[in-house]
Amino acid sequence: MLLSPTTALLLFALAAPIALLVLYSFWTQSGFNVDTQPTLVQYATVFTREGYRTLFLRSVAISSVVTLVTVALAYPIAYFVAFRVQRAKFTWLLLLTIPFWTSYLLRVFAWKVILGFNGVINSGLISLGLISRPLEFLLYNPTAVVVTMAHTYAAFAILPIYVSLEKIDRSLLEAAADLGDGPFRRFMRVTLPLSLPGIIGAAVLIFVPTTGDYVTPSLVGGSDGVMIANLIQVQFGRVNNWPLGAALAISSMAAVGIIAVSVTQAARLAVARIR
């Protein structure tokens, strides 16, 4: 009984809208109205138009790089807090999560300010006399998107990895050392495999939302950094073709889901074999 208000909300605000979205993807736009005759024409457009495929592949590529970079940068920090910090753990965790809670939009904006043509880096380097003309390769490209996302999604990597490292039974590490493993072998054979659930969790938490990120590509991506979310938004805005937008959203979500699940399973299997 206590669950019924929450269930009602979830049915109304999550299940029903997603069902409607799926339904819309089988309809067609005619002027300002939608034609509810079911058809696969939207999906045909999604899969055959080359521009869409390029954009989708680029989104997946950017998100994959973001996931790798963010996890690789965050792992040592999570390791440091879990194994090296003794008393100030709470303070460290708080320090690492505060930026995550401060406005996402403003953090992306900060990177636009940093990387811009007349931005912080360029003006700083010029006033130090290190360069004479602003560097143009900083902003409005996929790299800018990756750097910005590695910053904005940092907490999604740090926290799950930290939790899985913290759970590791310390006596296993002692056992490995007693049996003659050096620090490196011990890390590879005990710590890393046992922290894998955290790494996988972090990867999913970063990969899935970044493929659908709209703000970052809009503000720092430029025309080479446009991602699938920008295309979806345009269908609900300027172009006003909701069924096509729905089909784009459903198919990219399905594809991202399939990629996430298969990579996760492959990682689990690979580690099971190494062990």
Binding site: F12, P17, R84, L94, V120
Partner: protein, 275 residues
């Protein structure tokens, strides 16, 4: 194990940890720095100290309206999601686990794994399908949905260590269900409720994507800021606003974490007493 080499590793890790903190904080702290800079351009060298951008910000009536909208939405969404979360957390942490426990939890957390843009367009389609005009109410519905996982996380961890014999004792002493809740359960869960209210408020206050699709003409602050970013001459005002938001949300988060920790310690103590 080689002790000296081990310590050296530790030292390297600590240096990396502080460098990473710099990577997290410097971009964010640039906003307050340049918000006091007497120049229309966000660039080095700094031109001199001014508070005129803050004065301009305070005089901006559109911005004040957007702020007021955001506060209304945030207060409503945090209250509703915390109440729903409390009821659901109570049901989900009962000593006899519900058969639907896993399903409901998965359903409630599902929104974390769906890109925000997809939730945004799906809710947009729902609103037009049921004929609800786009307004702050539709934003609140979306925000309650994305706030719910956070409310559940905080409240369930608070309720998990809860000693139900306290409630039984209250009932045995003749209190009805409502008074038992009010005099026994509520005070014990209060730190969790405060933490949940603050965290969900921040989630709602921060959200751009859902409000972007759902607010209609009732602009919220992030939507307003996103619109302002197109005009270079308005950037300093955005900086001042951003600096104010950063400091306010960092303070709220520190408060929420403090309340949650108070709660966690309380829960641990209850368990010890119970045993």
């Amino acid at each position: 194990m080689n002790g000296a080499r081990h310590r050296q590793w530790g030292g390297g890790l600590a240096i990396y940890a502080f460098a990473y903190l710099a990577f997290l904080y410097i971009p964010v702290l640039l906003l307050p720095l340049f918000s006091f800079n007497d120049s229309l351009f966000i660039a080095f060298p700094l031109r001199g100290f001014t508070t005129k951008w803050y004065a301009a910000m305070a005089a901006d009536t559109q911005m004040r309206a957007a702020l007021w909208n955001t506060l209304k939405v945030g207060a409503t969404a945090s209250l509703v999601s915390t109440i729903l979360g409390l009821l659901a957390a109570k049901a989900l942490t009962q000593s006899a686990p519900l058969p639907s426990r896993g399903f409901v939890l998965g359903f409630a957390n599902l929104s974390l794994f769906i890109p925000e843009i997809v939730i945004g367009i799906a809710l947009l389609i729902l609103m037009t399908s049921v004929g609800l005009p786009l307004s702050l109410t539709s934003v609140v519905i979306g925000h309650v949905l994305i706030c719910l996982p956070f409310a559940l996380l905080v409240l369930m961890s608070r309720l998990e260590g809860f000693d139900s014999s306290l409630e039984e004792a209250s009932r045995d002493l003749g209190e009805n269900a409502w008074m038992t809740f009010w005099r026994v359960t509520f005070p014990l869960v209060l730190p969790g409720i405060i933490a949940s209210l603050l965290l969900t408020f921040i989630v709602s206050f921060d959200d751009f994507m859902l409000a972007f699709f759902l607010c209609g003409t009732d602009t919220t602050l992030p939507v307003y800021i996103f619109g302002e970013l197109r005009f270079p001459y308005k950037l300093p005002n955005v900086l001042a606003l951003g600096a104010a938001i950063l400091i306010a949300s960092a303070a709220l988060i520190a408060l929420a974490e403090w309340a949650r920790r108070l709660g966690a310690e309380g829960a641990a103590r209850d368990r010890v007493i119970g045993a």
